[in-house]
């Protein structure tokens, strides 16, 4: 059921993008939010909530910006790959340190590290452009020079392709031996050790994957906006990823994209029709979800499916 819903959701996004060209950017942004939130949701499977994962979006985006400015003419796809590799390398190093901690310490350490990088991005003006950020010229896409509209259409298609692959791949990971061992950390880490498994190693692998996903979202953000500013790594962005993960639920990989869709839709319409109180609307939405569906929207769907006798 969730898989069918995922296909339907991605198809609707594509059709919306074609019918309403203005919606391409918000759609790509929502998908990017979904990718990043999926990264956060991976860690939530192990019971660890990171309040600083926007750090990897910033690293992915700035890797794209630095590379694009140093090597003009480099293809957009290569820039994305470099963004992901950059965030993975950072995630690998930071992960060695943070996977030693659990609960609030894990969350706050991630937040602290992201704030250090956020501050540096704002202060190192000569290198990063400070709070003005760095502009990225529109790169070629698969060696094709594209106009703005065609470029956005290509990015929308690519982001949908990435989203579909990520839902499939990460869901397989959730159900794999590595993914189930990751979920086991949440309920009994001691037992894992007494089964010969290293909880830290399992968590580090997951952290690396989550950094890669958030890095990919940051690299995509950079390309679609054509501008990278320190805000991409700010604490409130990390909070939004956590918000979306809770909203969508971590029971299925599609939950993050579902949450991102609802988040972007509420934000878009609340900002348009209830200017000034859109944060209030988002807050109330989250409270309702926590009360009605503590496992997120996807958890609610799985429960409904189970209650009518089918498989979740």
């Amino acid at each position: 059921m969730i898989r069918g819903l995922a296909w339907l959701g991605f198809l609707i996004c594509f059709v919306l993008g074609l019918l309403f060209p203005w919606s391409k950017t918000p759609l790509i942004m929502a998908i990017c939010y979904g990718m990043a939130s999926l990264g956060v949701a991976i860690m939530m499977r192990a019971g660890q909530v990171s309040f600083g994962h926007a750090l990897y979006a910033a690293i992915g985006a700035y890797c794209v910006a630095f590379t694009a400015r140093s090597f003009p003419g480099l293809d957009g796809i290569i820039l994305l790959v470099i963004g992901v590799i950059g965030s993975m390398l950072a995630g690998g190093v930071v992960g060695l340190f943070v996977v030693r901690y659990r609960g609030i310490f894990f969350g706050m350490l991630n937040l602290a590290l992201s704030m250090v990088v956020f501050s540096m991005l704002g202060k190192l003006y000569n290198l990063t452009g400070g709070t003005d950020g760095l502009r990225i010229n529109r790169p070629t896409f698969f060696n094709q020079t594209l106009e703005r509209d065609a470029f956005e259409t290509s990015l929308l298609l690519l982001s949908l392709l990435f989203a579909a692959l990520l839902v499939w791949g990460v869901q397989r990971y959730f159900k794999s031996a590595a993914g189930e061992a990751l979920a086991a950390i949440k309920s009994n880490e001691t037992r894992l050790e007494y089964l010969g498994l290293s909880a830290r190693r399992i968590l580090w692998n997951a952290y690396l994957l989550s950094a890669a996903l958030v890095g990919l979202s940051g690299a995509m953000f950079g390309l679609v906006q054509g501008l990278v500013t320190p805000d991409i790594g700010a604490w409130f962005r990390s909070g939004e990823y956590v918000f979306i993960s809770i909203l969508g639920g971590s029971g299925h990989a599609f939950g993050a994209f579902l949450g991102a869709g609802v988040f972007e839709a509420v934000k878009l319409f609340a900002a348009a029709y209830m200017t000034g109180v859109w944060q209030l609307i988002l807050g109330v939405t989250l409270i309702i979800v926590i009360l009605v569906a503590p496992d997120g929207i996807v958890g609610l769907l799985q429960k409904r499916r189970s209650s009518v006798g089918g498989q979740p």
């Binding site: 397989r172 794999s176 993914g179 189930e180 309920s187 009994n188 037992r191 498994l197 692998n205």
Partner: protein, 247 residues
């Protein structure tokens, strides 16, 4: 013959409390050791030291010819020392079968990223173990749904999936209804016998000790106060008085 497990001069204190007081101890292959003693005598501390959870302030632990004193629990487990707990340590978000499957991948040390957990392990082996401990009918139920006795069995079955040379069970019958204790121990001991696993269990019920142990070690104040056959140890006046509570 080299003992399967041996400790030399093991010492550990918690503040002023001596939990392990210069313990020299050896366990031979094939033995069924029962460890008895009052609460706080240092039985679980001794298990925690032998399995790498606690580090002694002095002394060494040897398992199957390896010095394991400074090793991590998972490294000791890989050498063939399995353990179950006084409070069953299960994966509460998983089913009974999944708990055994995770234990099976723990033994292999392989954690595939794309192969499903159920495909990554030998399901015949999982089914055999479920059958051995009498949990076949509840295989797909969440562990939270199990009564205490079956949780204990699952805890032991997870350790058995590691194909250990030695299984240490910390109070396998605590929290189990008295009428179910013998049935549980019959099941466990039969499983251990079939797999030729040396065992060591901590137990307060003397009927169980008499029925299943080939050797008894009595712990008093962090020391092995008596060690020998059940008949010998349980007949000692000090054991009668200080552990069994006889006047």
């Amino acid at each position: 013959m080299t003992p399967l497990l041996e400790t030399k001069g093991l010492q550990l204190s918690f503040g002023g409390v001596v939990a392990a007081d210069n313990i020299d101890f050896a366990l031979q292959r094939g033995e069924r050791l029962a460890v008895i003693g009052q609460n706080g005598a240092g039985k679980t501390t001794f298990i925690n030291i032998c399995t790498g959870f606690l580090k002694p302030t002095a002394g060494r632990v040897f398992f199957d010819g390896h010095d394991v004193t400074d090793k991590l629990p998972r490294q000791i487990v890989r050498l063939g020392l399995g353990r179950s707990f006084q409070l069953p340590q299960l994966f509460l978000d998983h089913s009974v079968r999944q708990c055994l499957e995770i234990a099976a991948v723990g033994r292999s040390g392989q954690l595939p990223f794309f192969k499903s957990l159920s495909d990554a392990v030998d399901q015949h082996e999982i089914n055999d173990t479920l059958h051995l401990v009498g949990l076949s009918a509840r295989a797909d139920e969440p562990t939270l749904a199990l009564p205490e006795g079956q949780r204990k069995l699952l805890d032991i079955a997870m350790a058995l999936m590691l194909q250990p040379k030695l299984l240490i069970m910390d109070e396998p019958t605590s929290g189990v209804a008295s009428e179910d204790k013998m049935a549980l121990m019959d099941t466990v001991m039969q499983a251990l016998k079939e797999r030729e696993v040396t065992s060591w269990f901590v137990e307060h019920d003397i009927d169980i000790v008499n029925r299943y142990a080939t050797r008894v070690a009595a712990w008093i104040a962090g020391k092995v106060a008596a060690d020998g056959s059940p008949a010998e140890v349980l007949a000692l006046p000090q054991i009668q008085r200080e552990i069994l509570g006889h006047p």
